[in-house]
């Protein structure tokens, strides 16, 4: 399959390890990955902050970038983020319609229908649960609100993780509770957000896991920020990074934000 990658703005700039890992998994499975260079962002931040008009040009850029999927230029679009996939599927068309851009809304809906979060792509489109990964560490998984409630990915990430060789997957207490990120909520309501994060961090630490994983680097940035502040030994890793790890090309958990392992692996 030819699969277009939407890297997400935050991962492109701050956490390239997630889209890099996504590329590695898909190429390992024999697919061709394409990175349409005009992409930037899905518009989620503007929408959720209430700046719906300002989101429109951002959405327009996203939709135009990925519209070739409608002409079968690619078979599908993959995005390694539950919240960005959620925004694409549930907010872009609404925002365009509100601004009176009905044609754009229609195209956005059509592009969204071909856009998949990573675990959805692997299981629903490519039909694999065992991606041949090897990761001999204790891992706990935070399901993230938008993956759970906007996308309804259900247990797909767990299916994928359970198939990883060597993994010690442990349940996260109160996993379904929000970590408190919520985009600008973390800044505008910093005290409340911090209280939510404190509970999430202590639940993560109670598992004794070496790694906390999620399908979304925005939540992981938040959780990792709390872990790092606490000088915790727990590392954050995107689901894609664990799935990309193999015996030949292993990913090592390191300090929370030392992503050098990824860069090193990638440069080999």
């Amino acid at each position: 399959m030819r699969i277009a990658l939407a890297a997400t703005c935050i991962a492109d700039a701050m956490f390239p390890s997630a889209p890099i890992a996504t590329v590695k998994i898909l190429e390992r499975l024999g697919h061709t990955v394409v990175f349409p260079k005009e992409q930037t962002c899905c518009g989620q931040m503007h929408i959720n902050t209430g700046f719906l008009d300002k989101a429109v040009p951002v959405i327009e850029n996203h939709v135009n970038t990925f519209a070739p999927v409608l002409d079968n230029e690619w078979d599908a679009i993959v995005i390694p983020s539950g919240s960005c996939a959620g925004a694409i599927r549930h907010q872009q068309a609404m925002t365009c319609t509100r601004a009176g851009k009905l044609e754009l809304a229609k195209t956005a809906t059509a592009v969204a229908a071909k856009t998949y979060e990573l675990s959805e792509l692997l299981i629903d489109v490519l039909g694999v649960t065992d991606v041949g990964a090897y990761f001999p560490h204790r891992v706990t998984f935070h399901p993230t609100c938008h993956s759970m409630r906007l996308l309804r990915v259900g247990d797909r990430p767990y299916q994928l993780l359970k198939a990883v060789e060597g993994i010690d997957l442990v349940e996260l207490p109160s996993a379904d509770q929000c970590c408190g990120f919520g985009g600008t909520f973390a800044v505008k309501n910093a005290d409340t957000s911090s209280a939510m994060l404190a509970d999430k961090v202590s639940n993560i630490e109670s598992t004794g896991a070496r790694v906390v994983s999620a399908g979304d680097y925005s939540c992981l940035m938040h959780i990792g920020g709390g872990l790092n502040r606490k000088k915790s030994d727990v590392t954050t890793m995107h689901l894609a990074e664990i799935l990309a790890s193999t015996k030949e090309d292993p990913y090592q958990p390191s300090q929370p934000w030392d992503t050098s392992h990824v860069i090193e692996v990638a440069t080999k």
Binding site: A93, M94, T97, R98, A99, G100, L102, A105
Partner: protein, 225 residues
Amino acid sequence: MSEARAEILNRIALALDGVPSAVASMPGAERPQEVPRAYRADSEVATGSAQALEILVDRLVDYRAVVHRAASECDIAGVVAEVLSDAGSLVYPDGLDPAWLSKLPASVVTHEDSLTAPLGVMELDAIDAVLTACRVAVADTGTIILDGQPDQGRRAITLVPDTHVCVVYAQQVVHLLPQAITQLALHPTRPQTWIAGPSATSDIELNRVEGVHGPRNLHVIIVGG
């Protein structure tokens, strides 16, 4: 007052009359349309069946009601007598089957209440227990429904005394709430009291505690089945 009425109705009309915004005209936006009704309106669990009774009993006990069984109509009086043996006084509605009281020990002083000769609130407060029939019972939710007919009496009599003994015939036990509503809708304007267990509160730390202002004891006598 009629001025307020006219203005409110006018405000609503204006509010609803607005040209729908782009968002409201979107697919999936909330618009009036035919109401989907895929929920269970009927049940495979037959009315009055052993299974219906089993569910009812399970729910009643869960909510701390005390359940008694009477094998048939003629056993009601005996069970009533047993349940109320310690009561000093009893009130009953004037339409109650008098046979139900026939075996009460002489120590129980009985009072009849009716729409035309109602007991006062203070009189009711001095009475220990009340005995009534019911209109219908819902197994799934453990609910017994009274609709104020002569065998159930005025609402006050099942409220003020501290013990309510209610007789439920097996054939009155439906499985699901919609089945009960179908019956109640035949006479919707009758005053209704739906009862699920004795009076309770969850106001302290959201833990349920039985026994506040309504009757603190609920006894249910299931007849037949």
